[in-house]
């Protein structure tokens, strides 16, 4: 590294190795205590919180699913009335998509990406703290409303006019729409942080072709978030405007259009699926390496598939509207794009199988989840090809076939890799290993329970059972399969319970993990488990795609960073050459205040448009506090 001409502060090169870690810890540590916990900007602490919260929402969403399965086990069941059932299925969808699936993927990235690219903290750490608080507030808004019988009841897609001013009575749809604003705000914030972290904070030497596939996946995902989420924020905001101040975005009589909602919603909604799936694909590509004991086959193909899938995902949205009455030729353009996306998906599957083919698999729990993922995701992908066809879709659209399809894609394609991820990175998160025995049991229960629950839904859909019905009549031939599905769901739930038991037990009394328990090749394993507050004592220098395999004994490191204040290396975008040392912000309580002020403004604005005016004053105050200059000059050397 270039040695700067003048030294203005204490540098890591000036002090002995033993003192170095102590000095860094003092600079980077999060103070203990309540306020310290609230003010932290450490990406690892926030990431852990994010993951934990997302799994709480997963459990809550699972309870809703169980309620629906009890209701549907019998024809004309009276456990839930239509009003409650509609709230429950809406909550299940909205909760799983907005409060679990997207946040948990970003949460894992918040924890892992800075470690995988070898830096000390995520870019914009205070924004990161803010994003967590906003996410938490959005989740609590939705669940509090539900607990008080005012949960949204218009579906997670909230089609107008049903969710519009005339047919969506009360504030239920507004709560849905504002919950969107909360979660999208937090998702956008994390996306921006990840893009900057990946572009500018990679360890020296980590050129584009040495970025771990998971990091690539998160880069693509972040761009998807940045481009897709504004569409839904526009949609939900205009819905609230229609409902609160009487605008006419969706009123055909005054020149609005109800299909405008569907276009806006699905322009976000389809990329959303890939926002959930691409990180999972990245996790698989990264996890498969230590368990196949060879590099993932076809790095270029895997990265190309991620990027191409990401772009193509913006040209699929009309396949959710094939029966809305658009010209068939226009629909068919979307069939073409939807079909084309099967090719990058296929490339990834073939590369993973080739990796296993050529490797020597180690059958630990994460690999089991990867195998379960491939088995189920291929089914989900193939049924995806089916619904991409306009004529096929006219029969299965809005039926249980589609319910089966997207649960195969989202549970098989994203939750399986995620559970593998938790088993795999658990030692890095907590410093302890998860129990292998319980892991295997939970895998088999989840795998069998999942397939027994969701596969029969394909058949139910073809037999004519529509989605979103709170009950069905006894003279329809769906009873047997529905009962079977509900019973199978018990196995699935047992598997998840076992997983949670495993997590809690292992976190408290699991075997203590070494730094690199799986002999994995990526940088996060180059530091301790769990990592210290400063991540790496010295920033590693990367010479290959698998630094820990090619440099097994000692990783070369970069030096020259100050130890007496938070500093990290900024590198060039494409070639990751060191450019500058940059300061990383201190802990601050202001992101929390800003989040509270924003929460008040957003919830208030459900009731009065003036909230936007008066509510922005505290937000502005909080932002001023947040950005108040602290008098530490930039160290430009």
């Amino acid at each position: 590294m270039n040695r700067p001409a003048t030294t203005t502060g204490m540098r890591d090169i000036d002090i002995a190795r033993t003192k170095l870690t102590g000095a860094l810890a003092e600079t980077w540590t999060t103070p203990s205590g309540f306020w310290g916990a609230l003010a932290t900007v450490d990406h690892k602490i926030i990431g852990r919180r994010y993951i934990f919260t997302a799994f709480v929402f997963l459990a809550l969403g699972g309870v809703l699913a169980a309620l629906m399965r009890i209701q549907l086990a019998q024809p004309e069941a009276r456990l839930l009335g239509p009003d409650r059932y509609n709230q429950i299925f809406t909550m299940h969808g909205a909760n799983m998509m907005f409060l679990f699936a997207v946040p948990v993927m970003e949460a894992v990235a918040v924890y892992l990406v800075p470690l995988m690219v070898g830096t000390r903290n995520i870019a914009f750490p205070r924004l990161n703290a803010f994003s967590y608080w906003i996410y938490l507030a959005g989740g609590m808004l939705l669940w509090t409303a539900f607990a008080l019988d005012m949960g949204p009841d218009v579906g997670w897609f909230a089609y107008v006019p049903l969710s519009g001013p005339q047919y969506g009575a009360g504030k239920r749809a507004d709560i849905w729409a504002q919950m969107i604003t909360f979660t999208e705000l937090s998702a956008l914030a994390v996306a921006v942080e990840l893009v900057v972290t990946i572009f500018k904070q990679r360890a020296p030497g980590m050129t584009l072709d040495r970025i771990p596939v998971f990091v690539w996946a998160m880069l693509v995902t972040s761009f998807l978030v940045i481009m897709a989420m504004p569409a839904i924020m526009i949609a939900s905001t205009s819905l609230i405007l229609d409902r609160l101040v009487g605008t006419h975005f969706y009123n055909p009589a005054e020149g609005g259009d109800v299909l405008l909602w569907q276009h806006l919603f699905w322009f976000f909604g389809h990329p959303e699926v890939y926002i959930i799936f691409l990180p999972a694909a990245g996790m698989v590509s990264t996890m498969i390496e230590p368990f196949a004991r060879r590099p993932a086959f076809g790095y270029l193909g895997l990265v190309m598939a991620l990027i191409a899938t990401g772009i193509l995902s913006f040209g699929l949205w009309v396949h959710h509207m094939f029966v809305a009455g658009l010209p068939r030729l226009g629909d068919s353009f979307f069939t073409a794009s939807s079909m084309a996306i099967a090719i990058p998906a296929g490339i990834q599957i073939f590369c993973w199988i080739a990796t296993l083919w050529d490797g020597r698999p180690v059958f630990k729990t994460p690999l089991l989840f990867i195998i379960g993922f491939i088995v189920t995701f291929v089914i989900g992908g193939l049924t995806g090809v089916m619904v991409a066809s306009v004529p096929f879709d006219t029969q299965v659209h809005d039926t249980y076939f589609v319910v089966a399809h997207f649960h195969y894609v989202l549970i098989g394609g994203a939750v399986f890799p995620l559970l593998g991820t938790i088993h795999y990175w658990f030692p890095k998160l907590t410093g302890r290993m998860m129990s292998e025995t319980l892991g295997r049991w939970s895998f088999w229960l989840i795998f069998i329970g999942f397939n027994a629950t969701f596969f029969p839904m394909h058949i139910l859909g073809l037999e004519g059972m529509p989605r979103r019905i709170y009950t069905y009549q006894p003279d329809l031939p769906w009873h047997g399969l529905n009962l079977f599905i509900s019973l199978s769901a018990v196995i699935l739930i047992a598997g998840f319970l076992l997983f949670f038991v495993n997590v809690i037990r292992s976190a408290r009394s699991g075997e203590v993990a070494p730094d690199n328990p799986w002999d994995a090749p990526t940088l996060e394993w180059a530091t301790t488990s769990p990592p210290p507050s400063y991540n790496f004592a010295m920033i590693p220098v990367v010479g290959s795609l698998h630094p820990l395999w090619s440099e097994r004994d000692t990783l070369p490191v970069a030096d020259g960073l100050r130890t007496d204040r938070r500093e990290l290396i900024v590198t060039t975008l494409a070639t990751a050459e060191p450019q500058a040392r940059d300061a990383s912000p201190q802990n601050s309580i202001w992101p929390l205040w800003a989040a509270i002020a924003t929460t008040i403004m957003l919830i208030w604005s459900i009731f009065s448009p003036w909230a936007v005016v008066w509510g922005s004053i505290p937000v502005a105050v909080a932002l001023i506090g947040w950005f108040w200059p602290k008098g530490t000059p930039e160290d430009e050397s």
Binding site: L300, A308, I311, F314, L329, F333, A336, S337
Partner: protein, 114 residues
């Protein structure tokens, strides 16, 4: 960044920025042109799709060729050029496939079907 360096960068990655643009534009035209196709008994959307496919395949070649040129030279960042050129060329090929299928759709359907 000098102009020639910028040009090199853009041309290596052309398959990844130009091809999606062409494809996205064609998706939009697919919502507009069917009405014209139906009225005039033409195959405008087929024409735009196939012309678009020609553009994307050309951008695929352009990416490939310019990355090979950089690799053949003696400059730095040859691995990045290899990576960028290959990823771009492959992606552009994928968009070509999508556009060709859209062209086929416009040949099979008239635009009047609702």
């Amino acid at each position: 960044m000098s102009a020639s360096k910028l040009f090199t960068h853009l041309s290596i990655w052309v398959g990844l920025w130009f091809a999606p643009l062409v494809w996205a534009a064609n998706m939009q035209l697919g919502q507009v042109l069917p009405y014209a196709d139906c009225r005039s008994q033409l195959h405008l959307s087929a024409a735009t799709s196939f012309i678009g496919a020609a553009f994307t395949i050309a951008s695929s070649f352009a990416s490939w060729l310019s990355s090979r040129r950089v690799i053949g030279g003696s400059g730095e960042h040859r691995s990045n050029a290899d990576f960028g050129g290959t990823v771009s060329a492959l992606s552009a090929t994928l968009f070509t496939f999508a556009l060709l299928m859209q062209g086929v759709a416009a040949m099979v359907l008239t635009g009047c079907e609702k």
